[in-house]
C-alpha cells in the first residue's frame, strides 16, 4: 500500500512538473510574432499525450486542479481550462467513437477530434457566460496551429526512440 502511494505521488509530481513547464512554454510563445493572433495549446497536446501514452490513468480531479492553476496564473476566467482539459480527457478515453478513430486513423486524428469538440463546447460556454462573440478567425488560427504543432511535438518525443533504434540496429 505504502509502495503504491509513493508511486502515485511520484507519478503525479512528475506530471505536475511537465504541465507547469508546458504552461510557461505556451505563455512564452506569445512573444513570437508568428503567433500574433493566438498561441497554440501546447498544454492540450502534452495532456493528450500523457493521457494516451502513460500507463496509469490520470486523475480527473488533478486535471481540474491543473486547469484552475493555469487560469489563475494567466488571469483568465476561472474554471474554463479545467473544463476544457476535462472534456479533452473524456473525449480521448471515454467515447466509443474515440477507439474507432484511433484504430482507423491514428493518434493525430483522435487528438484533432477531441481538441476541436472540446474547444467548440468551451467556446459556446464562453459566449453564454460573457454574452459576447469572440473573433472566429482567432479561434480557427488557434485550432490550426495546435493541430499542426501536434505531429512536430510527437516527432520530438519520438526522436530519442528513433536514435536509439538506429544505434541498436548498428
Amino acid at each position: 500500500m505504502e509502495k503504491y502511494n509513493s508511486e502515485f505521488f511520484f507519478n503525479n509530481l512528475i506530471f505536475t512538473l511537465i504541465i507547469l513547464v508546458a504552461s510557461f512554454l505556451q505563455i512564452s510563445l506569445n512573444f513570437l510574432s508568428f503567433f500574433v493572433i493566438s498561441q497554440p495549446y501546447i498544454l492540450a497536446i502534452v495532456l493528450f499525450l500523457t493521457i494516451r501514452r502513460v500507463n496509469y490513468e490520470l486523475s480527473s480531479i488533478l486535471i481540474i486542479l491543473y486547469g484552475l492553476l493555469y487560469d489563475l496564473i494567466t488571469g483568465g476566467l476561472i474554471g474554463i481550462h479545467s473544463l476544457l482539459f476535462l472534456f479533452l480527457k473524456l473525449f480521448t478515453l471515454n467515447l466509443s467513437i474515440s477507439n474507432k478513430i484511433l484504430k482507423k486513423y491514428g493518434e493525430w486524428f483522435l487528438f484533432s477530434f477531441s481538441y476541436i469538440i472540446s474547444l467548440l463546447i468551451m467556446k459556446v460556454i464562453f459566449v453564454i457566460v460573457n454574452f459576447k462573440f469572440p473573433d472566429i478567425y482567432a479561434v480557427m488560427f488557434n485550432i490550426g496551429t495546435t493541430l499542426l504543432l501536434f505531429p512536430v511535438i510527437l516527432f520530438l518525443i519520438d526522436v530519442p526512440k528513433i536514435v536509439l533504434k538506429v544505434f541498436v540496429s548498428k
Binding site: 512564452s28 506569445n30 512573444f31 476561472i78 476535462l86 467556446k123 473573433d135
Partner: protein, 297 residues
C-alpha cells in the same frame, strides 16, 4: 455483467459531477471575488520570475527573426525612410507654427490642461494570448504605487488597464480582450463610439451613430467618458469595414511591447473622491412665490 454496468453508471455519474463542478467554478470566477483575485495576484507574483526565465528563449528567437527580416528589407526600408523623413520635415515646420498659435490661444482662454502623471514604467514579463483571455504581466506592483483600474500606455498609445495588483507584479487587461470596452471618438469626424476587444487581433467599433461615416485609416482616441481612461490617448486606426461594422487595429502591438507605463487618471481620482457619480444638487435659496413655499416646507 451487472457489476460492470453499475461501474459504468458510477463512472458516468462521477464525470457529470466533475463537469458540474467546473461549470460552478466558471460562474464563481465570473463573480470576480476578492479572494480569487488576491490568489491570482499571489500566483502571478510567485510564478512571474519562472515565467520570465522560460520566456527568454522565445524573446531571443523573436529578436533573431526581427534581425533577419530587417537585414532582408534594409534597402527598401532605407528608401522608405528617406521619403518619410522628407515628408516629416515639411510637417514639422507646419506643426511648429500651429503649436505656437495653440499655446497662445490656450493662454488667452485660460485653458486647463489635464496632464496624466506617469506612476511607473516597467518591463513586460509575459503575455497570455490564448483564445479565452488577453492579458499581460508587468514587473511593478503595489510597492510601486500601482492600483487597480489605472490605464496602461506605451509610446504608441493605449495598451489596457490594470486588473489585479500583487506586491511586485501586476496584470494588465489588454484592449483586445473580449472584456475590454474603451469609450473613444473618431478624430476626424468627432463621433463617439465604444472600441470593444474580440480576443483577436482587432477591436470592433460599437454604438457608432448611423450618421457617422468613418474613413479607413482614421485614428481613434479615448474620449475620457466614464472616467476610467483619460481623454486623448491613441487607441488605434480603422483598417477595415465589413457588414456595417468597423474594425480598429490597436496602435501598440502587444507582442512587440517590452516596456509600458502606468499613468494616473485624474478623472478617476476625482470621481472616487466625490460622494456620487452625479452628486445631488444643494438646496438653493428659493424664489419667494406667494402661497407656494409654505406648502413645500
Amino acid at each position: 455483467m451487472l457489476f460492470e454496468k453499475s461501474k459504468l453508471y458510477k463512472n458516468k455519474l462521477f464525470n457529470s459531477l466533475l463537469i458540474l463542478i467546473c461549470l460552478i467554478l466558471i460562474f464563481i470566477g465570473k463573480l470576480d471575488l476578492i479572494a480569487l483575485r488576491n490568489l491570482s495576484s499571489f500566483l502571478t507574483d510567485f510564478f512571474s520570475p519562472i515565467s520570465n526565465f522560460v520566456s527568454k528563449p522565445a524573446l531571443e528567437l523573436e529578436n533573431v527573426i526581427k534581425d533577419v527580416q530587417s537585414a532582408t528589407f534594409l534597402r527598401d526600408e532605407n528608401i522608405k525612410l528617406k521619403s518619410e523623413n522628407r515628408r516629416l520635415k515639411i510637417i514639422e515646420t507646419k506643426l511648429a507654427n500651429t503649436e505656437s498659435e495653440l499655446i497662445e490661444l490656450k493662454k488667452l482662454l485660460n485653458f486647463k490642461i489635464n496632464r496624466n502623471k506617469i506612476i511607473f514604467t516597467g518591463r513586460v514579463l509575459n503575455i497570455s494570448g490564448g483564445t479565452f483571455a488577453k492579458t499581460m504581466v508587468i514587473n511593478g506592483g503595489s510597492v510601486d504605487g500601482i492600483k487597480k483600474g489605472q490605464p496602461v500606455i506605451s509610446s504608441l498609445g493605449l495598451v489596457g488597464s490594470v486588473i489585479s495588483v500583487g506586491p511586485s507584479s501586476s496584470r494588465v487587461l489588454l484592449t483586445i480582450d473580449i472584456n475590454s470596452m474603451i469609450p473613444s471618438y473618431l478624430t476626424q469626424s468627432g463621433w463617439p463610439a465604444i472600441a470593444q476587444g474580440e480576443n483577436g487581433k482587432l477591436l470592433k467599433l460599437r454604438f457608432l451613430s448611423s450618421e457617422a461615416k468613418p474613413i479607413i485609416g482614421e485614428i481613434i482616441e479615448t474620449s475620457g467618458h466614464g472616467g476610467v481612461f483619460p481623454s486623448g490617448v491613441n487607441v488605434g486606426k480603422i483598417i477595415s469595414m465589413s457588414n456595417g461594422n468597423y474594425y480598429v487595429q490597436p496602435l501598440p502591438n502587444p507582442q512587440k511591447l517590452r516596456f509600458v507605463s502606468i499613468i494616473s487618471n485624474s478623472d478617476l481620482e476625482n470621481r472616487k473622491k466625490s460622494k456620487g457619480f452625479a452628486p445631488l444638487q444643494e438646496n438653493q435659496n428659493k424664489i419667494n412665490l406667494k402661497g407656494f413655499n409654505k406648502f413645500s416646507n
